[in-house]
């Protein structure tokens, strides 16, 4: 497939590399920041431009820009006869409805352009019509083993679920690391446990995997922990909230 990528951020960069790996041709990278566009184009063996009127012909235009920029970028593109998709979780596909064919190609993964290895990327796709859906399915299958057709509403739900299990989980890591630094214990000793907690979900459902003082109502340990958190009111509130919530879900 011949693809033009609009955007130069994490999504543009990682999907671009996945496409190239799978044998697609990246015709061109468009970026308002010329240096960023040139750098990404270089990695993808593509041409690049920062001019709206220099965008080339392609089978698919991947609009990988920030949620708030999608509408504006769409209005500046003169691609109404083409197939255009965006990559945003919480933006309706209909924001692209001036194009003849349009859809969504949303990667349900946390993408970083600095990453050397590329993670597995489940793709949530949607399209204005059967022909476009077929095209997007083919593209998705060429770079991932996990693909699902979901509408705007389901995509928001899965993004919300991702916020809980990625952003909020990572925030717990942030809090834990700060606590460890302040108390002079080594956060990195926890990495095997953190990985085991995630990897175990291949085999157990999270409710089967729940362990710790809260679920076994070990009041003595809970009191020791709250005492150890005396100097950390924010942590202590979180500890109490989680302990209660875990006990409520038993």
């Amino acid at each position: 497939m011949e693809i033009v990528i609009i955007g130069t951020g994490n999504t543009a960069s990682v999907l671009g590399r996945k496409f190239k790996e799978a044998g697609h041709r990246i015709v061109q990278v468009f970026g308002r920041n010329k240096t960023a566009a040139s750098e990404l184009a270089n990695v993808l063996a593509a041409e690049h431009t920062d001019r709206w009127n220099k965008i080339k012909e392609a089978d698919l235009y991947l609009l990988a820009v920030s949620d708030t920029a999608i509408e504006e970028v769409m209005s500046k593109l003169n691609l109404n006869e083409k197939t255009i998709v965006h990559t945003a979780a919480s933006v309706s596909k209909d924001v692209l409805k001036n194009a003849r064919h349009y859809g969504v190609f949303y990667p349900l993964q946390s993408l970083r352009k600095e990453a050397t290895g590329l993670p597995e990327i489940p793709l949530l796709i949607d399209a204005s019509d059967e022909k476009t859906l077929h095209l997007l399915k083919e593209l998705a299958n060429s770079i991932s083993e996990k693909m699902k057709v979901v509408d705007d509403e389901e995509r928001v739900k899965l993004h919300l679920a991702a916020v809980f299990s990625n952003n909020f989980v990572n925030h717990l890591y942030v809090m834990t690391e700060k606590y460890c630094v302040q108390e002079g214990v080594d956060f990195r000793l926890l990495l095997p446990l953190i990985k085991e907690t995630a990897n175990r979900l291949d085999v157990f459902s999270p409710s089967q995997a729940q362990t710790g003082p809260a679920i076994r109502c070990d009041t003595e340990t809970i009191h020791k922990h709250l005492a150890a958190l005396k100097a950390y009111p924010q942590w202590k509130a979180l500890y109490t909230l989680f302990t209660e919530s875990i006990q409520k879900e038993r």
Copy 2:
């Protein structure tokens, strides 16, 4: 090393298998539940007993019982001339002080006897004297590449950190799964993201890895999410708390 294991739970079972794999001899398994003791002994090619007065000679007695049982079990053992360690996070090593040599051999990992593969297990050790410390260091090094000598207080702190980054994280997975089931979207689509979030800590510190609507103050998405959580007051409270906490830590 010749080892007697007191207890038949997850810790007894997993550490027992690690010891055996490393070439140590498990002399005997003691368990008040005869069936459980016999089953574990079978896996470890050891003898077993449920009688306090039938416990055999060994270089080390590993007391892998629940926190609250340690004192009682210690009082029933007639091993005051021996080397005894417990495996508990939040119990002082001095609960064993009637023994000539004693210490702690705490695995900072979530252990499940059902697991087929054994995870990497960082070990936090402590001992009453140099000779015992040396013995425990050797034992720890034989089954793990991560070992650290920490006192009672540091061990509690690391356990508390583990509660945040394992028990609380897993509770977020529980909540996410329940939400997905109730909304009819597929929780398992999130597994690659969940794993990436954990594995990324090898390369990035968690504060560098924080992404999502909260950290980029994406009010529009946050409002969409809160609307999607209308029927879930408990989730909504958690969402607001995390969003505020993430923004406070920016």
